[in-house]
């Protein structure tokens, strides 16, 4: 008895005790039915309402964010495409200036050559002088009949001789004339070749101009799509931003690897400069931080160099600088970068010396014979380290380009990710709200099931009362009310 819980009416029989207690409580539960129903509904509304509101708010925020992302993306795309078009026009201008600058001279040359060819052609067309008029006389003489007259025959023979001589002379002259025309035609060849070359040059220049024009046309189409804010343009820009983001992230990752190698090269020798015993945190040495700072400064100088070279556009103030000041800044960044590269090469050499010294000490402590290394071979890693130390700062300078792409595309990618996240959370909140409301309904039903006996009694009483009344509503009707 002492070991039984206080609520057990029949000690050792929990089920019976619970049943009796339940039967005792049933009338009270029936009496409290309406307030409990109200309480459960209120709880459902209390928990579900804010969740649904949060969900609606998040969906609205996601819509706004998407609109904003779209506006930013289109603005970025507009700016980029505008820059690309401007660049294409610059290229065309350069092409025109460089290639077509001598076009008038070329045209003059072409016209001169064509005129000359025409003149020569005309010369070729000239026929030899026509035979003298005595040809008709000969024709008349040819009609004369000798009839055996010796005199006539002799005259005709004389005429024949003269004609043969004249014919030979005329033929020789004719041949000379043709020979001179052939010479003229021979003289054509260089002009034709020159003409052909000039035309080919003109054609290639015109072709490259046509290609540029088609590129500009494509860019203009894109620009128009962006200005019209079409879905196609938005989709294309989003895909482009995503591609840029992942490519830039990959390149930055590779650059981080390079920076790590750089760090390993200079961390040990930096301890010779700033001391190896100072710590910033329990595990971070001051020398390591100093090495990191040097690498960051190199990257910053590289960033400034890229900015002043107009390769990147991270700092508008640098771009707004005057040309002279910009060039000064460019040289200052380059000289600092060069100096730091030199310092790194020296540190790499020092690292090698320190390692060799430590190795010698350890060998003397271990009392082993020092390995005599080939001087030429041992210098290769040293030279390699120095070269790496000198090159890596310049290589790091180029991270400005992927960094710019990463930052620009991160806005789009981050915005899109936020929209997806907000929508996902909104859906989850809505689901949670619906679940809580449905749970409250289930609890109300379960409550009614637990007091089914009083409810049946109530229905029976109401049914018996309504039997006497023609327009009774019954239990169901009462419930609905």
């Amino acid at each position: 008895m002492a070991g039984s819980p206080f609520w057990m009416i029949w000690p050792g029989n929990a089920a019976l005790s619970a049943l009796v207690l339940f039967l005792i409580a049933m009338p009270f539960l029936y009496a409290a039915r309406m307030p409990v129903h109200g309480l459960l509904r209120a709880l459902g509304l209390l928990a579900g309402g804010p969740l649904r509101m949060c969900s609606r708010w998040l969906l609205e925020a996601a819509r706004n964010l998407q609109e904003r992302n779209r506006a930013v993306l289109l603005a970025q795309g507009r700016e980029e495409t505008g820059q690309q078009i401007a660049r294409e026009f610059e290229r065309v201008a350069a092409l025109v200036r460089h290639d077509l600058e001598g076009y008038p001279a070329l045209q003059r040359k072409l016209l001169g050559e064509i005129t000359r060819v025409e003149e020569d052609y005309k010369k070729c067309g000239e026929v030899p002088p026509p035979p003298p008029e005595w040809v008709e006389a000969i024709a008349a003489v040819a009609k004369v009949k000798s009839n055996g007259n010796e005199l006539v025959q002799r005259i005709l023979e004389e005429i024949q001789k003269s004609v043969v001589v004249i014919h030979d002379k005329a033929l020789a002259e004719y041949r000379r004339a043709y020979q001179s025309r052939h010479k003229i035609l021979d003289g054509f060849m260089p002009f034709w070749r020159s003409l052909d070359k000039t035309l080919a040059r003109t054609d290639s220049k015109i072709t490259s101009l046509t290609e540029r024009a088609s590129v500009i046309d494509a860019q203009m189409d894109k620009f128009e799509q962006i200005v019209k804010k079409t879905d196609k343009a938005e989709h294309a820009l989003t895909v482009s931003a995503l591609t840029q983001f992942f490519i830039a992230a990959l390149v930055l990752l590779i650059a981080a690897g390079g920076a790590l190698i750089n760090f390993k090269l200079i961390a040990l020798p930096m301890s010779e400069m700033v001391g190896a015993g100072d710590y910033l945190t329990s595990s971070l040495r001051t020398s390591e931080v100093a090495a990191l700072v040097i690498i960051f400064v190199e990257a910053t100088m590289g960033l400034f160099l890229m900015e002043t070279l107009h390769i990147t556009h991270l700092f508008p103030r640098i771009h707004n600088l005057g040309e002279v000041l910009r060039k000064r800044m460019m040289w200052a960044s380059f000289i600092l970068l060069l100096t730091l590269a030199g310092v790194e090469a020296a540190l790499a050499l020092m690292r090698d010396m320190l390692i060799a010294d430590k190795q010698a000490l350890l060998q003397s402590l271990a009392a082993t014979q020092a390995v005599v290394a080939d001087g030429w071979l041992t210098r290769i890693p040293t030279a390699g380290q120095m070269l790496l130390g000198f090159i890596l700062p310049f290589a790091l300078a180029f991270i400005a380009i992927p960094l710019e792409s990463f930052i620009n595309s991160a806005r789009t990618v981050g915005g899109a990710a936020l929209v997806v996240l907000a929508r996902a959370v909104a859906v989850m909140l809505r689901l949670a709200g619906t679940f809580i409301r449905q749970l409250c309904r289930v609890l109300i039903t379960v409550y009614d099931i637990s007091i089914v006996l009083p409810l049946l009694a109530e229905r029976w009483v109401k049914a018996s009362r309504s039997a006497g009344k023609p327009r009774a509503t019954g239990f169901e009707a009462g419930e609905r009310r």
Partner: protein, 219 residues
Amino acid sequence: MKRRTFVVSVPLLGLAYAAGCTDPRSHAHAVYLLVDTSGTYAQEIGRAQLIVNYLLGSLQPGDSLAVARVRSRSFSEKDIIAKATFDNRPSQANAQKRALKEKVEAFTSSARGSVNTDITGGLIQGSEFLNETGAGKKTILIFSDMQEELDKATVRSFPIDLKDIRVVAVNVVKLNTDNIDPRRYLGRLEDWKKRVKAAGAREWRVINDIEHLDALLKS
């Protein structure tokens, strides 16, 4: 503007941190090696040289090392054979290590055995030295059989202070009497453990294999 802030902030943070937020705690490690030169244990002195070499190879720039002998009365600076706080620059530290190694080599080649063994005096001397270094980690290595023998005039029966110091007994060889009754050996070590712990030592350990010193020094 935000992009600019992002790009510039990373190195600036590093610089600011380097300028003003250094960790004030000392990360240096100070080691005091007591070498027993009494009686038959003097034969083991060659192994002491190995331990010194090992310590010289393990300790970093900024750490401290002192090697002292245990004689009939060891509470004296004269018993410190060689000591050095290594320079923060690795090249200078290496030069100091070479010099210390030569001093210890000279000692081991000319060491003479003492009549009695005053380990307690050596511990007090070592504690003083370690506290003076201001190192973050302090260790006393006792290269001895841990059999203390004092003359009548020497007083060591009082509580000593070894607060925050780790005490490690190295190469505790067994005596002939220990072989007859191992309880003597175990009891001797247990007595030292109690005494060292009572003195406030951070840890008491016995290491007979020198290779296990590596893990101890790194911890």
